[in-house]
Each structure stands twice: as structure tokens, then as C-alpha cells.
Symmetry: C2
Subunit: 299 residues, 2 copies
Amino acid sequence: MCSAPRPDQDGSRAAFDEAIAVTRQQPAPRADLGEPSWWAATIPPGWDVGAAINGGVVLALAANALRGETGRPCPLSTTVHYLGQATAGSADIAVEVLRAGRTRHVAQAAVRQEGVEVARALGALGVLGDVGEVDDVRHWHVAPPPLPPVEECVAPPSAEQAVLPPPPLARNVELRLHPDHVGFAFGRPPGDPVIHAWARLADGRDPDVLALLVFADALPPAVFNAGLPLGWVPTLELTVHVRARPAPGWVRVAARTRLRASGYLDEEAEVWDADDRLVASARQLALSPRAPTPPTRPA
Amino acid sequence: MCSAPRPDQDGSRAAFDEAIAVTRQQPAPRADLGEPSWWAATIPPGWDVGAAINGGVVLALAANALRGETGRPCPLSTTVHYLGQATAGSADIAVEVLRAGRTRHVAQAAVRQEGVEVARALGALGVLGDVGEVDDVRHWHVAPPPLPPVEECVAPPSAEQAVLPPPPLARNVELRLHPDHVGFAFGRPPGDPVIHAWARLADGRDPDVLALLVFADALPPAVFNAGLPLGWVPTLELTVHVRARPAPGWVRVAARTRLRASGYLDEEAEVWDADDRLVASARQLALSPRAPTPPTRPA
């Protein structure tokens, strides 16, 4: 089962759990079908990329409210459309349960800040087996991305070293990029829109099903490695399928872009856990970068 | 631009346009943000697979209402969650515009039959270039699926020939399967959960952006070719990215499943047009088949 996050041994919450924490605003019983229920959140600073909170973090926040409302622990398939830029600060989330089944619920979440909806999420929530406990697992023609050991991979280079310094998100989501996939940051894109990387939460909290939603959107845009300008690549829509609860430890993320057309591009991300299981698959639609300058500077 | 469907030269509408036709119920100006607008539809028989209308057809119907409401012709990225089984007959669609931008709208559609919501869709709509007119197209490491010419491919075998006869949908969506990918229908699955096929609307109507939503879900489940039981594989969620308006003629669809776990499986579908352009990418989450008998029998 996908369990709720537990406090650390010293009783404090991990930074990620703090970032996506939600509280039911009305201490009422679960809402009827079709009636929204309200949840409150406060997004801390440090989870942003450029001018906005990372899209995966917004999705994880929405999914956490969906989890709370439905009582179903795993976001099996969740889609979010970004309507505006989420920023650090208070947010409220209106959750509406659309289908309440025995094993699976479907619900939507409207994330609002200062009265303006910044994201709409729609998801199916249910129960997934733990990695290693699922007896029907079968992969076909898929394998974890080839990556050297963590210690041989590359942390995103600093502002002093690179033309594209890492965003504030990098303080909370630790990445180690494949040495062959970091060229974009030095103005030497290798040509292929592919980035493979290790990822974990910087405070050492182990991954869970909600963290997978963040890892699916935490890498620099793979298209930077194809030589496209290092401009902002805003995600319009992100869909993540979570397929199993991940094992503890670093995950590996394989991201790639396959097509740019009419100003839009896709980005696919697979997340693999430490036990070599495909634990999440994601695809997003984003705007193709246009700006000639890097989108973010560290504060 | 993705244009609205035109009547045939004799003035009659193609079967697909009839199937997904929507009419605004209140002859009112466009609804304000946050206020639903109502559309009416009548789903004809002949678009079903097993007990339910094909999921791609339901998505196309919802997307047609989103198109009508937003005035934006192309469903750039659309997600649908199935809440119940849609059947032939009348339906109404409540559309809510969540974001009205200059080039892009985000809106949701609730498809109801007899007062019960059967599907919830969420989509971004905008404008895409025609194939051949888009000047920024760039593919990376993708190619159309290898398929023999249409005349060397295989129509889904009839009930007399096969253990799995084609569903009623096959009367409206014509398929020609790769000869190596039709084994599932004869009880000889080749082992790989892959199906490549040509597809077109049976009445010869050329594909458009809405037909792509159907083609993305019109093939038999690829997982049948892996030897899983030929049971019903209900789609829970389907997301389709439409990337360009397709050229006239047959499209090619490449479908595959990569992972089954915890009773769920994914299916990915790429749709390529006659000009060798990737025009749509789709992924769905479905229930893994369990029933030992074929799900449908022709009437």
C-alpha cells in the first residue's frame, strides 16, 4: 500500500512533506459527490524554477489533497493543466470527487492563490503494491536508463561555472546528471534532447508516490541538449502514471523530447527506482523555448 | 488551422461527424469563466467496443464540445477519465472554461447520460499548423512504424475466422493490421505487446484533429499479443497530444504496452499521417484483462 508520509525520527517533517502539506479547511465529513471540499496549503519558497513553483510540486500538492479527500493513497494517473504561475505562499484547493468506487476514486482539484485558479488537476487514485510485493509485474522492452554510478555523475553546475545555473528547486531536489548530458549548461549541447539523471530529495527523505510526481518534472528540459535556446520552457500540461511505490534510495530519471511543432514540444520522463522497477511514466506538453537568455538566476 | 468539419459534397455529414456532433443547448453568449455551458449530443450505435462506446469516441465528443465552447479548433492536449460506460443514445456535456488566453484555452467537459456523469475531460485547445505548413517541425529519434502497404495488411478477422472477432467499432473505423501483429485474434499471440496498423474512417472521410483522438484508442489492446487473456481491457484514463493537423489518407498507428503491475497496464499509441508526420501521441492507463472469454460478439 502507498502509505502516508511519516515524520522523521526526530518528529520533524521532511521539507517535501512540508511543501505539499494540506489541511482540510472545514472539519466536516467527506463531501458528497459533486460538492467541493476545501483544503489549505502554504507553499514554502525554494521549490521554484524561474518565476513559478515547479509544475511537479504543484501536481504533488494537488494529488496530496486528492489523497486526503478520497482516502485512496496512490495517484494512479494524474493530469494537471497550469492556468497561471503558482508562487510561494498560501493556496487553497477545492476538491471534487467525481467517482467513488470500491478500489478506485476519480477526483479533481482546483488550486487557487489569491482567488485565482493556478492549476486544475484530474486524477484516478487507488492502491498499488509495493515494489517487490507485486506479483503480476511484467515489463516488455524497457530497461532503466544507462547511468554511471551516482558519484561519477554531475551535480548541476553553479552560476560561476555554467551559462545556465540551476534553479532554486535544486536546493530541495538533488540531481546528478549523466556526464554526457550536461553539455547544455556549458553552451555545448550534445545534440540529442535527452537527459538521464539520478534524483532524490535533498534532505534524504526517501521517495514515495507523491515524490515521483516531482521527479517526473524536476530535470532541466531535455530539449536544451538539442541546441534550442536556453529560454523558459513552461509546462502546459503534465500527466504522470505512478505504477508502484518506489524502493528507498536514489531514483533514476530518463527524460527526452521527441517532437517540436507549432511552438509546442513534448517531454517524456520515466522514473526508475533503486530496485530497477519502472515506477512512473510521464509526458508533458510545453512551450518551445524562445528567449535567448537563461530563464533563472539564483537569488 | 484546424478547421471545422465540412459536409460532404452531397450535403450529408460523414458518420464520424454525426457521431460526435454537439449542439449548444442554451442559445446564449459564451459562458463566463467558471460558469458551465451546456451542449447536447446523440451518440449513434456502431461506435462501441463490448458494452461501452469506444473511449476515443467519448474523448472526441467531449473535445468537440470544448472546441465549440472555446472557439479554439485544436485539442492540443486532452485527458479523459471514464467514470462509467457511455452507451448509444442522448448525452449532455457541461463545459467550463478555466482559462481563456489569447492563443490557448483550458476547459473541462463533463459528459452525462441519464443524469449520470460517464466521463470527465480536461483539455488545452489552441491552433496548430497544418502538416507541411509548420516551419518549426523537428523530430528526434522517431520514425513511422514499419508497416507493409495497406493491401498487404490484414483486416480484423471475422467471428468465423477468429477467437476474437472485431467489435462494432470496426464498422466505422477501418483497420489493417500488420500481418505479424494479428496473432492474438487466432489464439497465437506472437509474444510482444505491440500492434501496428493502418486506420481510417470507414466512410472515407479524411482524418482531422478529432479523428486522431479516436485512432489513438481504436486498435485492439496491444497486450493481447503478449498472451494475456482476451478479456475486456477497460481504459481508465486516456491522454492524447495532437501535434499537427493530419494529411488526407490512411494514418498509421503504433501501439504498445510496456508494463503491467498491480492489475493496471499502460498503452501507448503514436499516430502518423500519410506525409510521415507524427500527428498524435497518446498514453492510457487500463485495467489488465482477467476474463478468459472474448469481451464482445458481433450482433
